[in-house]
Protein backbone atom coordinates (compact mmCIF):
# COMPACT_ATOMS: atom_id res chain seq x y z
CA UNK A 1 0.00 0.00 0.00
CA UNK A 2 2.31 2.69 1.17
CA UNK A 3 5.23 3.45 -1.05
CA UNK A 4 7.91 3.80 1.58
CA UNK A 5 7.54 3.44 5.33
CA UNK A 6 4.25 4.37 6.92
CA UNK A 7 3.99 5.91 10.30
CA UNK A 8 0.73 5.35 12.13
CA UNK A 9 -1.02 8.65 12.61
CA UNK A 10 -0.32 9.60 16.15
CA UNK A 11 -3.29 9.53 18.49
CA UNK A 12 -5.14 6.97 16.43
CA UNK A 13 -3.24 3.92 17.60
CA UNK A 14 -4.78 0.96 19.32
CA UNK A 15 -3.51 2.04 22.73
CA UNK A 16 -6.09 3.52 25.11
CA UNK A 17 -6.32 7.21 25.87
CA UNK A 18 -4.53 6.97 29.21
CA UNK A 19 -1.66 5.05 27.72
CA UNK A 20 -1.56 7.61 24.94
CA UNK A 21 -1.41 10.41 27.53
CA UNK A 22 1.44 8.75 29.36
CA UNK A 23 3.20 8.17 26.09
CA UNK A 24 2.89 11.79 25.08
CA UNK A 25 4.11 13.00 28.45
CA UNK A 26 7.01 10.59 28.24
CA UNK A 27 7.76 11.87 24.78
CA UNK A 28 7.72 15.56 25.70
CA UNK A 29 9.66 14.83 28.87
CA UNK A 30 12.34 12.88 27.07
CA UNK A 31 12.65 15.55 24.38
CA UNK A 32 13.18 18.17 27.10
CA UNK A 33 15.79 16.01 28.83
CA UNK A 34 17.53 15.41 25.50
CA UNK A 35 17.61 19.13 24.70
CA UNK A 36 18.91 20.01 28.17
CA UNK A 37 21.65 17.40 27.75
CA UNK A 38 22.59 18.72 24.31
CA UNK A 39 22.79 22.30 25.59
CA UNK A 40 24.90 21.40 28.61
CA UNK A 41 27.23 19.07 26.71
CA UNK A 42 29.91 21.68 25.93
CA UNK A 43 30.39 22.12 29.69
CA UNK A 44 31.73 18.59 29.94
CA UNK A 45 32.75 17.41 26.49
CA UNK A 46 36.16 18.18 25.06
CA UNK A 47 36.85 19.56 21.61
CA UNK A 48 37.31 16.11 20.11
CA UNK A 49 33.78 15.14 21.05
CA UNK A 50 32.35 18.35 19.67
CA UNK A 51 34.35 18.35 16.45
CA UNK A 52 34.41 14.70 15.55
CA UNK A 53 31.11 13.42 16.87
CA UNK A 54 28.49 15.92 17.96
CA UNK A 55 28.74 18.52 15.21
CA UNK A 56 28.74 15.99 12.35
CA UNK A 57 25.97 14.06 14.10
CA UNK A 58 23.74 17.13 14.33
CA UNK A 59 24.38 18.16 10.74
CA UNK A 60 23.84 14.62 9.49
CA UNK A 61 20.52 14.57 11.36
CA UNK A 62 19.52 17.80 9.67
CA UNK A 63 20.42 16.43 6.24
CA UNK A 64 18.52 13.24 6.98
CA UNK A 65 15.54 15.31 8.06
CA UNK A 66 15.64 17.13 4.73
CA UNK A 67 15.75 13.92 2.71
CA UNK A 68 13.13 12.29 4.94
CA UNK A 69 10.64 15.05 4.20
CA UNK A 70 11.04 14.29 0.51
CA UNK A 71 11.46 10.54 0.59
CA UNK A 72 9.79 9.38 3.78
CA UNK A 73 6.84 11.76 3.74
CA UNK A 74 6.30 12.70 0.10
CA UNK A 75 7.58 9.39 -1.29
CA UNK A 76 9.93 10.89 -3.89
CA UNK A 77 13.22 9.01 -3.74
CA UNK A 78 16.27 11.15 -4.40
CA UNK A 79 20.01 10.61 -4.74
CA UNK A 80 20.74 14.30 -5.25
CA UNK A 81 21.32 15.03 -1.56
CA UNK A 82 25.02 15.71 -1.96
CA UNK A 83 24.30 18.11 -4.81
CA UNK A 84 21.77 20.10 -2.80
CA UNK A 85 24.20 20.25 0.13
CA UNK A 86 26.83 21.73 -2.16
CA UNK A 87 24.36 24.31 -3.50
CA UNK A 88 23.62 25.40 0.08
CA UNK A 89 27.30 25.53 0.94
CA UNK A 90 28.41 27.48 -2.14
CA UNK A 91 25.40 29.81 -2.02
CA UNK A 92 26.01 30.67 1.63
CA UNK A 93 29.72 31.08 0.96
CA UNK A 94 29.06 33.53 -1.85
CA UNK A 95 26.49 35.44 0.20
CA UNK A 96 28.95 35.79 3.08
CA UNK A 97 31.66 36.83 0.65
CA UNK A 98 29.74 39.22 -1.55
CA UNK A 99 27.17 40.61 0.90
CA UNK A 100 29.14 40.75 4.15
CA UNK A 101 26.62 43.13 5.74
CA UNK A 102 24.02 40.35 5.97
CA UNK A 103 23.99 38.61 9.36
CA UNK A 104 24.96 34.94 9.34
CA UNK A 105 21.49 33.48 10.05
CA UNK A 106 20.05 35.43 7.10
CA UNK A 107 22.84 34.26 4.79
CA UNK A 108 22.27 30.71 5.96
CA UNK A 109 18.55 30.94 5.30
CA UNK A 110 19.04 32.59 1.91
CA UNK A 111 21.56 29.90 0.98
CA UNK A 112 18.91 27.35 1.93
CA UNK A 113 16.28 29.11 -0.16
CA UNK A 114 18.58 29.15 -3.19
CA UNK A 115 19.14 25.44 -2.71
CA UNK A 116 15.38 25.00 -2.39
CA UNK A 117 14.82 26.74 -5.72
CA UNK A 118 17.40 24.51 -7.37
CA UNK A 119 15.49 21.64 -5.78
CA UNK A 120 12.26 22.77 -7.43
CA UNK A 121 13.96 22.71 -10.82
CA UNK A 122 15.45 19.30 -10.07
CA UNK A 123 12.01 18.15 -8.98
CA UNK A 124 10.29 19.12 -12.21
CA UNK A 125 10.80 15.67 -13.77
CA UNK A 126 8.89 14.19 -10.80
CA UNK A 127 5.71 15.56 -12.35
CA UNK A 128 6.08 13.08 -15.17
CA UNK A 129 8.12 10.20 -13.85
CA UNK A 130 8.37 8.28 -10.61
CA UNK A 131 10.19 5.52 -8.80
CA UNK A 132 13.72 4.79 -9.93
CA UNK A 133 13.26 6.77 -13.10
CA UNK A 134 13.10 9.69 -10.68
CA UNK A 135 16.14 8.38 -8.81
CA UNK A 136 18.01 8.49 -12.10
CA UNK A 137 16.95 12.05 -12.80
CA UNK A 138 18.10 13.16 -9.34
CA UNK A 139 21.40 11.50 -10.17
CA UNK A 140 21.56 13.83 -13.17
CA UNK A 141 21.21 16.74 -10.74
CA UNK A 142 23.93 15.32 -8.52
CA UNK A 143 26.46 14.91 -11.32
CA UNK A 144 25.61 18.19 -12.99
CA UNK A 145 26.01 20.18 -9.77
CA UNK A 146 29.22 18.41 -8.82
CA UNK A 147 30.65 19.29 -12.21
CA UNK A 148 29.36 22.88 -12.10
CA UNK A 149 31.12 23.76 -8.86
CA UNK A 150 34.34 22.11 -9.96
CA UNK A 151 34.28 23.69 -13.38
CA UNK A 152 33.47 27.32 -12.79
CA UNK A 153 35.79 29.34 -10.58
CA UNK A 154 33.24 32.04 -9.85
CA UNK A 155 31.52 29.87 -7.25
CA UNK A 156 34.69 29.42 -5.25
CA UNK A 157 35.89 32.99 -5.83
CA UNK A 158 38.61 31.77 -8.23
CA UNK A 159 40.43 29.95 -5.48
CA UNK A 160 43.40 28.04 -6.84
CA UNK A 161 42.85 24.91 -4.79
CA UNK A 162 39.60 23.02 -5.11
CA UNK A 163 38.78 23.55 -1.44
CA UNK A 164 38.30 27.04 -0.06
CA UNK A 165 38.45 28.02 3.56
CA UNK A 166 35.29 29.32 5.15
CA UNK A 167 34.95 32.92 6.24
CA UNK A 168 34.87 33.72 9.95
CA UNK A 169 31.62 32.75 11.62
CA UNK A 170 30.00 35.44 13.75
CA UNK A 171 26.44 36.27 14.80
CA UNK A 172 25.75 39.86 15.90
CA UNK A 173 29.34 40.42 16.87
CA UNK A 174 29.72 37.13 18.77
CA UNK A 175 32.55 35.06 17.43
CA UNK A 176 31.42 31.51 16.74
CA UNK A 177 34.61 29.99 15.41
CA UNK A 178 35.45 28.05 18.58
CA UNK A 179 34.20 24.43 18.69
CA UNK A 180 31.62 25.40 21.32
CA UNK A 181 30.42 28.31 19.20
CA UNK A 182 30.09 26.16 16.10
CA UNK A 183 28.33 23.53 18.15
CA UNK A 184 25.74 26.00 19.42
CA UNK A 185 25.20 27.45 15.95
CA UNK A 186 24.51 23.94 14.66
CA UNK A 187 22.35 22.98 17.62
CA UNK A 188 20.22 26.14 17.36
CA UNK A 189 19.68 25.58 13.63
CA UNK A 190 18.78 21.94 14.13
CA UNK A 191 16.30 22.75 16.92
CA UNK A 192 14.56 25.47 14.90
CA UNK A 193 14.37 23.40 11.70
CA UNK A 194 13.15 20.33 13.58
CA UNK A 195 10.41 22.35 15.28
CA UNK A 196 9.24 23.78 11.95
CA UNK A 197 9.43 20.39 10.22
CA UNK A 198 7.47 18.68 12.98
CA UNK A 199 4.67 21.20 12.59
CA UNK A 200 4.85 21.00 8.82
CA UNK A 201 4.38 17.25 8.52
CA UNK A 202 1.25 17.43 10.70
CA UNK A 203 -0.21 20.29 8.69
CA UNK A 204 -2.22 20.21 5.46
CA UNK A 205 1.05 20.13 3.52
CA UNK A 206 2.28 17.05 5.37
CA UNK A 207 -1.01 15.24 4.81
CA UNK A 208 -0.82 16.07 1.12
CA UNK A 209 2.68 14.62 0.98
CA UNK A 210 1.64 11.41 2.67
CA UNK A 211 -1.32 11.03 0.31
CA UNK A 212 1.04 11.43 -2.64
CA UNK A 213 3.45 8.92 -1.13
CA UNK A 214 0.80 6.30 -0.51
CA UNK A 215 -0.53 6.51 -4.05
CA UNK A 216 -0.26 9.58 -6.18
CA UNK A 217 -2.79 8.50 -8.79
CA UNK A 218 -5.42 8.00 -6.08
CA UNK A 219 -4.46 11.31 -4.48
CA UNK A 220 -4.94 13.10 -7.79
CA UNK A 221 -8.35 11.47 -8.24
CA UNK A 222 -9.64 12.77 -4.91
CA UNK A 223 -8.48 16.26 -5.74
CA UNK A 224 -5.19 16.59 -3.90
CA UNK A 225 -2.86 19.00 -5.72
CA UNK A 226 -0.21 16.41 -6.57
CA UNK A 227 2.10 18.53 -8.72
CA UNK A 228 2.19 21.42 -6.26
CA UNK A 229 2.69 18.99 -3.39
CA UNK A 230 5.63 17.29 -5.08
CA UNK A 231 7.35 20.56 -5.95
CA UNK A 232 6.73 21.89 -2.45
CA UNK A 233 8.33 18.75 -1.04
CA UNK A 234 11.35 19.24 -3.28
CA UNK A 235 11.60 22.88 -2.21
CA UNK A 236 11.38 22.30 1.54
CA UNK A 237 13.61 19.26 1.41
CA UNK A 238 16.35 20.97 -0.61
CA UNK A 239 16.09 24.03 1.61
CA UNK A 240 16.79 21.98 4.72
CA UNK A 241 19.51 19.98 2.96
CA UNK A 242 21.06 23.22 1.69
CA UNK A 243 21.25 24.67 5.19
CA UNK A 244 22.76 21.41 6.38
CA UNK A 245 25.29 21.58 3.54
CA UNK A 246 26.32 25.10 4.53
CA UNK A 247 26.74 23.99 8.14
CA UNK A 248 28.71 20.93 7.00
CA UNK A 249 31.11 23.22 5.15
CA UNK A 250 31.37 26.04 7.70
CA UNK A 251 30.69 24.53 11.11
CA UNK A 252 32.20 21.07 10.56
CA UNK A 253 34.86 20.95 7.84
CA UNK A 254 35.83 24.61 7.82
CA UNK A 255 36.25 24.40 4.04
CA UNK A 256 33.90 24.41 1.09
CA UNK A 257 34.85 21.45 -1.03
CA UNK A 258 32.69 19.97 -3.76
CA UNK A 259 34.30 16.58 -3.21
CA UNK A 260 32.75 16.23 0.23
CA UNK A 261 29.30 16.45 -1.37
CA UNK A 262 29.67 13.58 -3.81
CA UNK A 263 27.40 10.64 -4.54
CA UNK A 264 28.70 8.75 -1.51
CA UNK A 265 27.27 11.47 0.68
CA UNK A 266 23.88 11.01 -0.98
CA UNK A 267 24.06 7.27 -0.32
CA UNK A 268 25.10 7.89 3.27
CA UNK A 269 22.11 10.12 3.95
CA UNK A 270 19.76 7.66 2.30
CA UNK A 271 21.16 4.89 4.50
CA UNK A 272 20.69 7.07 7.55
CA UNK A 273 16.98 7.51 6.94
CA UNK A 274 16.41 3.86 6.03
CA UNK A 275 18.14 2.67 9.18
CA UNK A 276 16.64 5.44 11.31
CA UNK A 277 13.14 5.19 9.95
CA UNK A 278 11.41 6.70 6.94
CA UNK A 279 8.46 8.92 7.64
CA UNK A 280 9.61 9.64 11.17
CA UNK A 281 11.20 12.78 12.60
CA UNK A 282 13.04 11.10 15.47
CA UNK A 283 14.33 8.44 13.07
CA UNK A 284 16.63 11.00 11.49
CA UNK A 285 18.55 11.47 14.72
CA UNK A 286 18.78 7.75 15.37
CA UNK A 287 19.92 7.05 11.83
CA UNK A 288 22.43 9.90 11.84
CA UNK A 289 23.85 8.81 15.19
CA UNK A 290 24.20 5.33 13.79
CA UNK A 291 25.99 6.51 10.65
CA UNK A 292 28.42 8.71 12.58
CA UNK A 293 29.07 6.40 15.53
CA UNK A 294 29.42 3.02 13.81
CA UNK A 295 32.58 3.94 11.85
CA UNK A 296 34.16 5.42 14.98
CA UNK A 297 33.22 2.33 16.97
CA UNK A 298 34.62 0.03 14.28
CA UNK A 299 37.77 2.09 14.21
CA UNK A 300 38.24 1.70 17.95
CA UNK A 301 37.44 -2.00 17.90
CA UNK A 302 39.80 -2.51 14.98
CA UNK A 303 42.58 -0.47 16.58
CA UNK A 304 42.09 -1.57 20.17
CA UNK A 305 40.96 -5.16 20.32
CA UNK A 306 42.77 -6.48 17.30
CA UNK A 307 45.84 -4.36 17.88
CA UNK A 308 45.81 -2.84 14.41
CA UNK A 309 45.84 -6.24 12.72
CA UNK A 310 43.31 -4.91 10.24
CA UNK A 311 44.45 -2.01 8.10
CA UNK A 312 42.35 1.05 7.33
CA UNK A 313 41.33 -0.11 3.86
CA UNK A 314 40.03 -3.42 5.17
CA UNK A 315 38.16 -1.62 7.92
CA UNK A 316 36.48 0.56 5.35
CA UNK A 317 35.46 -2.50 3.35
CA UNK A 318 34.13 -4.12 6.49
CA UNK A 319 32.15 -0.97 7.19
CA UNK A 320 30.70 -0.98 3.67
CA UNK A 321 29.63 -4.58 3.98
CA UNK A 322 28.15 -3.99 7.42
CA UNK A 323 26.17 -0.93 6.36
CA UNK A 324 24.85 -2.77 3.32
CA UNK A 325 23.85 -5.80 5.36
CA UNK A 326 22.14 -3.64 7.98
CA UNK A 327 20.23 -1.79 5.31
CA UNK A 328 18.96 -5.02 3.81
CA UNK A 329 18.14 -6.33 7.28
CA UNK A 330 16.14 -3.24 8.17
CA UNK A 331 14.28 -3.25 4.86
CA UNK A 332 13.27 -6.87 5.40
CA UNK A 333 12.64 -6.96 9.13
CA UNK A 334 11.73 -3.43 10.12
CA UNK A 335 11.05 -1.09 7.19
CA UNK A 336 10.23 1.69 9.63
CA UNK A 337 13.70 1.58 11.09
CA UNK A 338 15.15 2.23 14.51
CA UNK A 339 12.41 4.77 15.22
CA UNK A 340 9.76 2.03 15.09
CA UNK A 341 11.85 -0.29 17.25
CA UNK A 342 12.24 2.47 19.82
CA UNK A 343 8.61 3.48 19.60
CA UNK A 344 7.56 -0.08 20.44
CA UNK A 345 9.87 -0.09 23.44
CA UNK A 346 8.33 3.26 24.43
CA UNK A 347 4.79 1.91 24.32
CA UNK A 348 5.78 -1.04 26.46
CA UNK A 349 7.42 1.30 28.94
CA UNK A 350 4.31 3.51 29.05
CA UNK A 351 2.03 0.53 29.65
CA UNK A 352 4.30 -0.52 32.52
CA UNK A 353 3.74 2.88 34.14
CA UNK A 354 -0.03 2.67 33.70
CA UNK A 355 -0.34 -0.56 35.56
Amino acid sequence: MSAIGTDAIEGFGTTGSTAQGTRDRLRVGSAAVLLATLVSIPLMANDYWLNAILIPFLIMSLTALGLNLLMGYAGQASLGTGGFMSVGAYATYNLLLRLPELPLPISLLLGGIISGLVGVVAGLPSLRIKGFYLVASTLATQFLLEWLFNQYGWFSNYSTSSSISAPRLAVFGHDLSSPTGRYFLTLATVVVVTAVATRLVRSQTGRTWMAIRDMDTAAAVIGIPVSAGKLKAFFVSSLVIGIAGALWAFAYLGTVDARSFNLDRSFQVMFAIIIGGMGSISGNYLGAAFMILLPILLDHVGGGLLGGAIDAGQLENLQRALFGALMVWFLIKEPRGLAALLSRAWTQLASCFDR
Binding site: A77, A136, Q151, G313, G324, I332
Partner: protein, 293 residues
Protein backbone atom coordinates in the same frame (compact mmCIF):
# COMPACT_ATOMS: atom_id res chain seq x y z
CA UNK B 1 34.94 14.93 -41.05
CA UNK B 2 36.98 11.75 -40.60
CA UNK B 3 37.73 12.95 -37.07
CA UNK B 4 34.02 13.22 -36.39
CA UNK B 5 33.40 9.74 -37.78
CA UNK B 6 36.24 8.36 -35.70
CA UNK B 7 34.81 9.94 -32.55
CA UNK B 8 31.39 8.62 -33.40
CA UNK B 9 32.59 5.09 -34.07
CA UNK B 10 34.69 5.07 -30.91
CA UNK B 11 31.68 6.27 -28.96
CA UNK B 12 29.36 3.69 -30.48
CA UNK B 13 31.77 0.90 -29.60
CA UNK B 14 32.15 2.22 -26.06
CA UNK B 15 28.37 2.32 -25.92
CA UNK B 16 28.22 -1.39 -26.64
CA UNK B 17 30.27 -1.89 -23.47
CA UNK B 18 27.64 0.00 -21.51
CA UNK B 19 24.94 -2.12 -23.13
CA UNK B 20 26.68 -5.24 -21.85
CA UNK B 21 26.09 -4.08 -18.29
CA UNK B 22 22.62 -2.81 -19.08
CA UNK B 23 21.54 -6.22 -20.43
CA UNK B 24 22.11 -7.71 -16.98
CA UNK B 25 19.72 -5.15 -15.54
CA UNK B 26 17.08 -5.78 -18.16
CA UNK B 27 17.12 -9.56 -17.59
CA UNK B 28 16.41 -9.24 -13.90
CA UNK B 29 13.94 -6.42 -14.27
CA UNK B 30 11.91 -8.17 -16.92
CA UNK B 31 11.50 -11.33 -14.92
CA UNK B 32 11.12 -10.04 -11.39
CA UNK B 33 10.53 -6.29 -11.51
CA UNK B 34 13.66 -5.67 -9.48
CA UNK B 35 15.95 -2.86 -10.50
CA UNK B 36 19.20 -4.54 -9.51
CA UNK B 37 21.63 -1.84 -8.47
CA UNK B 38 24.05 -4.58 -7.41
CA UNK B 39 24.76 -5.43 -11.06
CA UNK B 40 27.81 -3.16 -10.98
CA UNK B 41 29.21 -4.90 -7.92
CA UNK B 42 28.55 -8.25 -9.53
CA UNK B 43 30.63 -7.11 -12.49
CA UNK B 44 33.44 -6.15 -10.10
CA UNK B 45 33.08 -9.38 -8.17
CA UNK B 46 33.26 -11.46 -11.34
CA UNK B 47 36.35 -9.68 -12.62
CA UNK B 48 38.04 -9.81 -9.22
CA UNK B 49 37.35 -13.52 -8.74
CA UNK B 50 38.60 -14.32 -12.22
CA UNK B 51 41.80 -12.31 -11.83
CA UNK B 52 42.52 -13.78 -8.40
CA UNK B 53 42.12 -17.30 -9.77
CA UNK B 54 44.33 -16.50 -12.75
CA UNK B 55 46.99 -15.08 -10.42
CA UNK B 56 46.91 -18.38 -8.56
CA UNK B 57 48.00 -19.93 -11.84
CA UNK B 58 44.75 -21.50 -12.95
CA UNK B 59 43.99 -22.22 -16.56
CA UNK B 60 41.87 -19.60 -18.37
CA UNK B 61 38.87 -21.85 -18.94
CA UNK B 62 39.01 -23.41 -15.50
CA UNK B 63 39.13 -19.95 -13.91
CA UNK B 64 36.22 -18.84 -16.09
CA UNK B 65 34.24 -21.92 -15.09
CA UNK B 66 34.84 -21.42 -11.36
CA UNK B 67 34.03 -17.72 -11.63
CA UNK B 68 30.86 -18.55 -13.49
CA UNK B 69 29.74 -20.92 -10.75
CA UNK B 70 30.60 -18.32 -8.11
CA UNK B 71 28.56 -15.70 -9.95
CA UNK B 72 25.58 -17.97 -10.51
CA UNK B 73 25.68 -18.99 -6.85
CA UNK B 74 25.87 -15.33 -5.84
CA UNK B 75 22.91 -14.41 -8.02
CA UNK B 76 20.83 -17.24 -6.62
CA UNK B 77 21.86 -16.37 -3.06
CA UNK B 78 20.80 -12.75 -3.51
CA UNK B 79 17.45 -13.88 -4.84
CA UNK B 80 16.93 -16.28 -1.96
CA UNK B 81 18.22 -14.27 0.99
CA UNK B 82 17.25 -10.74 0.06
CA UNK B 83 14.53 -10.64 -2.54
CA UNK B 84 12.33 -13.54 -1.55
CA UNK B 85 11.45 -12.01 1.85
CA UNK B 86 10.70 -8.75 0.05
CA UNK B 87 8.13 -10.14 -2.38
CA UNK B 88 5.16 -7.82 -2.88
CA UNK B 89 6.96 -4.84 -1.46
CA UNK B 90 7.15 -1.60 -3.47
CA UNK B 91 9.69 -1.55 -6.29
CA UNK B 92 11.61 1.30 -4.72
CA UNK B 93 12.14 -0.80 -1.58
CA UNK B 94 13.53 -3.60 -3.72
CA UNK B 95 15.82 -1.10 -5.39
CA UNK B 96 17.15 0.08 -2.03
CA UNK B 97 17.67 -3.51 -0.93
CA UNK B 98 19.85 -4.17 -3.98
CA UNK B 99 21.73 -0.98 -3.13
CA UNK B 100 22.48 -2.57 0.24
CA UNK B 101 23.47 -5.80 -1.50
CA UNK B 102 25.89 -3.92 -3.72
CA UNK B 103 27.65 -2.52 -0.64
CA UNK B 104 27.88 -6.00 0.88
CA UNK B 105 29.30 -7.53 -2.31
CA UNK B 106 31.83 -4.72 -2.77
CA UNK B 107 32.93 -4.86 0.85
CA UNK B 108 33.23 -8.63 1.09
CA UNK B 109 34.82 -9.08 -2.34
CA UNK B 110 37.53 -6.60 -1.46
CA UNK B 111 38.10 -8.02 2.01
CA UNK B 112 38.57 -11.49 0.56
CA UNK B 113 40.45 -10.64 -2.61
CA UNK B 114 42.13 -7.34 -1.87
CA UNK B 115 41.59 -3.88 -3.25
CA UNK B 116 44.69 -3.42 -5.39
CA UNK B 117 44.42 -2.86 -9.13
CA UNK B 118 44.93 -6.02 -11.18
CA UNK B 119 45.83 -6.34 -14.81
CA UNK B 120 43.57 -8.59 -16.81
CA UNK B 121 44.82 -9.94 -20.11
CA UNK B 122 42.30 -11.69 -22.32
CA UNK B 123 44.77 -12.13 -25.13
CA UNK B 124 43.06 -9.63 -27.39
CA UNK B 125 45.55 -7.40 -29.17
CA UNK B 126 44.72 -3.77 -28.67
CA UNK B 127 46.25 -2.14 -31.70
CA UNK B 128 43.96 0.13 -33.68
CA UNK B 129 43.18 -1.08 -37.19
CA UNK B 130 42.05 1.01 -40.09
CA UNK B 131 38.66 0.34 -41.67
CA UNK B 132 37.75 2.64 -44.54
CA UNK B 133 40.05 5.38 -43.35
CA UNK B 134 38.79 5.27 -39.77
CA UNK B 135 40.95 4.11 -36.85
CA UNK B 136 39.08 1.53 -34.79
CA UNK B 137 40.25 -0.16 -31.60
CA UNK B 138 40.47 -3.92 -32.10
CA UNK B 139 39.56 -4.54 -28.52
CA UNK B 140 36.39 -2.51 -28.82
CA UNK B 141 35.49 -4.45 -31.94
CA UNK B 142 35.97 -7.74 -30.13
CA UNK B 143 33.84 -6.46 -27.27
CA UNK B 144 31.12 -5.38 -29.66
CA UNK B 145 31.26 -8.79 -31.31
CA UNK B 146 30.88 -10.49 -27.92
CA UNK B 147 27.93 -8.28 -27.10
CA UNK B 148 26.35 -9.16 -30.43
CA UNK B 149 26.77 -12.91 -29.80
CA UNK B 150 25.37 -12.46 -26.29
CA UNK B 151 22.30 -10.66 -27.58
CA UNK B 152 21.66 -13.32 -30.22
CA UNK B 153 22.12 -16.08 -27.64
CA UNK B 154 19.76 -14.38 -25.21
CA UNK B 155 17.13 -13.80 -27.90
CA UNK B 156 17.26 -17.47 -28.84
CA UNK B 157 17.02 -18.37 -25.17
CA UNK B 158 14.02 -16.12 -24.62
CA UNK B 159 12.19 -16.97 -27.82
CA UNK B 160 12.91 -20.66 -28.42
CA UNK B 161 13.51 -22.45 -25.13
CA UNK B 162 10.78 -23.49 -22.69
CA UNK B 163 12.46 -21.67 -19.82
CA UNK B 164 12.77 -18.52 -21.86
CA UNK B 165 9.14 -18.55 -22.86
CA UNK B 166 8.14 -19.16 -19.24
CA UNK B 167 10.25 -16.16 -18.25
CA UNK B 168 8.45 -14.02 -20.79
CA UNK B 169 5.15 -15.20 -19.40
CA UNK B 170 6.23 -14.13 -15.92
CA UNK B 171 7.33 -10.77 -17.20
CA UNK B 172 3.97 -10.32 -18.86
CA UNK B 173 1.74 -11.31 -15.95
CA UNK B 174 3.12 -13.07 -12.86
CA UNK B 175 -0.36 -13.99 -11.56
CA UNK B 176 -1.44 -15.64 -14.79
CA UNK B 177 1.92 -17.36 -15.11
CA UNK B 178 1.57 -18.79 -11.61
CA UNK B 179 -1.95 -20.01 -12.26
CA UNK B 180 -0.92 -22.10 -15.25
CA UNK B 181 1.74 -23.80 -13.17
CA UNK B 182 4.93 -21.93 -13.98
CA UNK B 183 7.33 -22.16 -11.06
CA UNK B 184 7.99 -18.54 -10.29
CA UNK B 185 10.76 -18.99 -7.74
CA UNK B 186 12.74 -21.52 -9.74
CA UNK B 187 12.63 -19.22 -12.73
CA UNK B 188 13.69 -16.23 -10.68
CA UNK B 189 16.72 -18.21 -9.60
CA UNK B 190 17.46 -19.09 -13.20
CA UNK B 191 17.24 -15.48 -14.26
CA UNK B 192 19.52 -14.36 -11.43
CA UNK B 193 21.92 -17.07 -12.48
CA UNK B 194 21.85 -15.77 -16.06
CA UNK B 195 22.43 -12.25 -14.72
CA UNK B 196 25.49 -13.62 -12.92
CA UNK B 197 26.71 -15.03 -16.25
CA UNK B 198 26.18 -11.73 -18.06
CA UNK B 199 28.06 -9.89 -15.34
CA UNK B 200 30.95 -12.31 -15.80
CA UNK B 201 31.17 -11.39 -19.50
CA UNK B 202 30.87 -7.69 -18.71
CA UNK B 203 33.39 -8.03 -15.88
CA UNK B 204 35.99 -9.69 -18.09
CA UNK B 205 35.67 -7.14 -20.89
CA UNK B 206 35.53 -4.10 -18.61
CA UNK B 207 38.30 -5.51 -16.45
CA UNK B 208 40.54 -6.01 -19.46
CA UNK B 209 39.81 -2.50 -20.63
CA UNK B 210 40.18 -0.57 -17.38
CA UNK B 211 42.08 -2.89 -15.07
CA UNK B 212 40.25 -4.73 -12.33
CA UNK B 213 39.64 -2.21 -9.59
CA UNK B 214 36.96 -0.65 -7.47
CA UNK B 215 36.11 1.87 -10.19
CA UNK B 216 34.50 -1.00 -12.11
CA UNK B 217 31.42 -0.64 -9.92
CA UNK B 218 30.94 2.79 -11.46
CA UNK B 219 29.88 1.19 -14.74
CA UNK B 220 26.49 0.78 -13.08
CA UNK B 221 26.21 4.56 -13.10
CA UNK B 222 27.02 4.59 -16.80
CA UNK B 223 24.49 1.86 -17.50
CA UNK B 224 21.65 3.68 -15.78
CA UNK B 225 21.10 6.34 -18.47
CA UNK B 226 21.38 3.58 -21.07
CA UNK B 227 18.48 1.78 -19.43
CA UNK B 228 16.39 4.88 -19.13
CA UNK B 229 16.78 5.73 -22.77
CA UNK B 230 16.20 2.18 -23.94
CA UNK B 231 13.54 1.25 -21.42
CA UNK B 232 13.93 -1.19 -18.55
CA UNK B 233 12.27 -4.12 -20.27
CA UNK B 234 13.89 -4.38 -23.66
CA UNK B 235 17.20 -6.01 -24.57
CA UNK B 236 17.15 -4.32 -27.96
CA UNK B 237 16.50 -1.08 -26.07
CA UNK B 238 19.58 -1.69 -23.93
CA UNK B 239 21.72 -2.02 -27.06
CA UNK B 240 20.25 1.03 -28.78
CA UNK B 241 20.35 3.03 -25.56
CA UNK B 242 24.00 2.07 -25.16
CA UNK B 243 24.79 3.21 -28.70
CA UNK B 244 23.00 6.53 -28.14
CA UNK B 245 24.76 7.14 -24.82
CA UNK B 246 28.16 6.07 -26.14
CA UNK B 247 27.94 8.18 -29.28
CA UNK B 248 26.38 11.14 -27.46
CA UNK B 249 29.00 10.99 -24.73
CA UNK B 250 32.04 11.08 -26.96
CA UNK B 251 30.64 13.61 -29.42
CA UNK B 252 29.56 15.87 -26.54
CA UNK B 253 32.97 15.52 -24.88
CA UNK B 254 34.65 16.80 -28.04
CA UNK B 255 32.25 19.52 -29.13
CA UNK B 256 30.29 20.56 -26.03
CA UNK B 257 33.28 19.93 -23.77
CA UNK B 258 35.46 22.48 -25.54
CA UNK B 259 32.59 24.95 -25.25
CA UNK B 260 32.00 24.46 -21.53
CA UNK B 261 35.53 23.68 -20.44
CA UNK B 262 35.75 19.90 -20.37
CA UNK B 263 34.65 16.71 -18.62
CA UNK B 264 31.00 16.96 -19.60
CA UNK B 265 30.86 13.18 -19.89
CA UNK B 266 30.22 12.87 -16.12
CA UNK B 267 26.73 14.24 -16.53
CA UNK B 268 25.91 14.39 -20.23
CA UNK B 269 24.41 10.89 -20.44
CA UNK B 270 22.15 11.67 -17.50
CA UNK B 271 20.89 14.93 -18.87
CA UNK B 272 20.27 13.17 -22.18
CA UNK B 273 18.39 10.45 -20.33
CA UNK B 274 16.23 12.94 -18.44
CA UNK B 275 15.44 14.69 -21.72
CA UNK B 276 14.32 11.34 -23.14
CA UNK B 277 12.27 10.66 -20.01
CA UNK B 278 10.38 13.89 -20.31
CA UNK B 279 9.31 12.94 -23.82
CA UNK B 280 8.89 9.22 -23.32
CA UNK B 281 8.57 8.38 -19.60
CA UNK B 282 8.91 4.64 -20.22
CA UNK B 283 11.98 4.84 -22.46
CA UNK B 284 12.19 4.19 -26.18
CA UNK B 285 11.21 0.52 -26.02
CA UNK B 286 9.71 0.28 -22.57
CA UNK B 287 6.09 -0.42 -21.85
CA UNK B 288 4.13 2.36 -20.21
CA UNK B 289 2.67 1.04 -16.95
CA UNK B 290 -1.08 1.21 -16.50
CA UNK B 291 -2.12 2.21 -13.02
CA UNK B 292 -5.26 1.07 -11.29
CA UNK B 293 -6.64 2.49 -8.10
Amino acid sequence: MSFFVETLVGGLLAGVMYSLVAIGFVLVFKASGVFNFAQGSMVLCAALTFVTLRDKGLDFWLAALITLSVMVALGIAVERVVLRPLVNRPQITLFMATLGVSFVIEGVAQIVMGASVHELDLGIVDTPIEIGGVQVSQFDLAAAGTAGILVVALSIFFNKTRVGIALRAIADDPQAALSIGIRLQTLWQIVWGVAGFVSLIAGLLWGARQGVQFALTLVVLKALPVLIIGGFTSIAGAIIGGLIVGAGDSVAEIYLGSLLGGSVSTWFAYVLAVAFLLVRPAGLFGEAPIERI
